[in-house]
């Protein structure tokens, strides 16, 4: 029987590293030992993900049926009563896009980046549809599209930063990145609103938000990366209890 030179314990032929200390097991000639080695355990599957998926699928199926029947009811109302078509069209568009949102929210798209892009696409369709109900585009091109593009870009950026810093301190990086995201978003949002309203850009409230949140983020990251040991010691000395 093979054994681990460090622990001195016997191990099955199929195992490459010692289960106790991960030390690589020295190979011995298998022909000299006619004992067959078969797996004592199946290659284990994780029941958790399977059960989770099952529950998710059930919930999604139920929601889909609900939404489908809601759309059906609304269509029937239009065709029978012929009243206030406008309001009902609004509802139909919202209900259908709600289905898409739930689809995305349930994580059926594996990649988070594609999820965000799809989210932007659905929102674009929704806003276009809502604006187009009265056959007249008023706010879609001027406001909605810009804000959607902006949000998608910022979300993608945040996700990218989050993935990169995943292995570092979560208590520093998640708040810092959120601060960066919100400050960028508010600044850009005010730009859009201002430009569309006055054809001129003059930042006011977003500037405050931007400065406050950005400095918090920079302080957090700065403290994390570059606090010289001398400073750390000084803080410890002054604040020790």
């Amino acid at each position: 029987m093979p054994y681990c030179p460090k622990c001195g314990v016997e191990i099955d032929y199929t195992i490459k590293n010692c289960p106790l200390c991960t030390f690589p097991i020295p190979k011995i000639d298998e022909d000299t030992n006619p004992i067959s080695t078969e797996n004592k355990f199946p290659h284990p599957e994780n029941i958790y993900y399977e059960e989770l998926l099952k529950m998710k699928n059930q919930a999604f199926f139920a929601i889909s049926i609900l939404i489908f029947s809601a759309v059906l009811v609304l269509m029937t109302i239009i065709s029978i009563f012929k009243v206030s078509q406008l309001a009902i069209t609004y509802s139909i568009i919202s209900v259908i896009s709600a289905w898409f949102y739930i689809f995305l929210f349930f994580g059926y798209i594996r990649s988070k980046y594609y999820s965000i892009l799809a989210l932007g696409f659905v929102t674009t369709c929704l806003t276009y549809g809502l604006d187009n109900v009265d056959k007249e585009i008023t706010w879609f091109y001027s406001y909605a599209l810009h804000i959607i593009v902006l949000s998608v870009l910022i979300l993608l950026l945040l996700l990218y930063l989050y993935n990169r810093s995943k292995l570092k301190n979560q208590f520093v990086f998640i708040p810092a990145h959120l601060c960066i995201g919100i400050s960028l978003f508010s600044a850009a949002l005010e730009c859009i609103l201002d430009f569309q309203a006055n054809r001129a850009i003059q930042l006011s409230w977003s500037l405050i938000v931007f400065i406050v949140l950005m400095s918090i983020a920079l302080i957090l990251i700065g403290l994390y990366y570059k606090l010289p040991d001398r400073m750390k010691e000084k803080i410890k000395r002054t604040l020790h209890i």
């Binding site: 200390c21 199946p42 994780n46």
Partner: protein, 426 residues
Amino acid sequence: MRQHSKNWYKLDNAGKLYPSITSTRVSTVFRVSATLYDEVNPTLLQTALNNIIERFPYYKVNLKRGLFWYYFEYTGNCPVIEKETFYPCMFMYYKRKKSFPFRVLYYNKKISIEISHSITDGTGVVIFLKSLLLEYFRLLNNNLCLEKDHGIFFSHDPIDQEETEDAFHKYYQKHIPDPPKLKKAFHFPFKLNAKGEYNIITGIIPIEPLLAAAKKHHVSLTQYLLALYFDTIQEYIHSNKVKLRHPVVMNVPVNLRNLYPSKTMRNFFISITPQIDFRLGTYSFDEILDYIKCYMKMSITRKNISRYIHKNVKNEKSLFVRLIPLFIKNLLLPVLYNKYAERNFTSSISNLGQITMPKSIENKIERFEFYPPPSRGNIIKLGVVSYKDKIYISFGSLTKTTEIEKIFFRKIRRMNIPVKIETNRE
């Protein structure tokens, strides 16, 4: 088949807790398995199960929700065996319709029963598994000559009414004081596995030299293993310079059928809690052994145990507790369980003892194994069982770290006792 006057029964005092605290990482499901020398025949196993389950009508049930408590409802369906695919001791959706509070699994040469603690303890399931194995071998070989005894039920045996009793209630004394309260215990600072993963490391050790070592110190095997485990944790703390804030407390379930004359096939155990505070200094192995020997002797008496039974049953009987609706109990109990139970233990070690089988089939079974239920509060636990000339010590662990297992088995190895390691780790 027996006629039931009513088609349901209450969970026992210990079992009442488990369905409410079940979650992904706290499955409250444990496994006892037997490995044969030949490949398992699934069709025969299913027939054997169908036959033997009639002898265990109190396990042929589904868990149902009442307004205030869960209860078990007898069912006409038969449990279906499954091929093992998942990690061991995973949670069950036994609150769902038509699923049993246990599953019978097979894989190559191994037959396993995974059972929820809500319905029985280790003793109950060992009798169930032994009876199932016997029925399986009887089907395999018709002219098998079988002697009685060994704690095995035959499918045609009459059912003793005492098997279904809630022994906690039977031996409850009203006017006695509570046991002393526990304080927070040391916990292993290891990183948790992903949900749904449970790692087992089993050490297979010849029982003779271990017994001899225990006999030399005039202790039982359980006490000896307990001392080894304490010493392992001490070594881990010292070699890793772990900062200790709490004592090391071990949870050791005691089978009360040895203390009280009950034949119940439901839960009947109490946990006793030996503890050593390593902040007081380094303990020699003999000191640890002495402590455990004295502690066990003082703890495992009917007088001492009756206080624990008193406390558990009193809590259950309290009108206030009974009147809380089930869904609120399900919210509160996990928190309380953590605060009053798991938080106060470092780990647990549970020994099912020596399993014996009738001579005629003894040599058709290679071994038995016992895996403890995974729990988030005590991420490493020990299940021990012995069969014939070997002892099977299984660490069930919710972490990738194998430090404790490594120190433990190296200790045994240093006593010049051979150890074989098996694992489900990749």
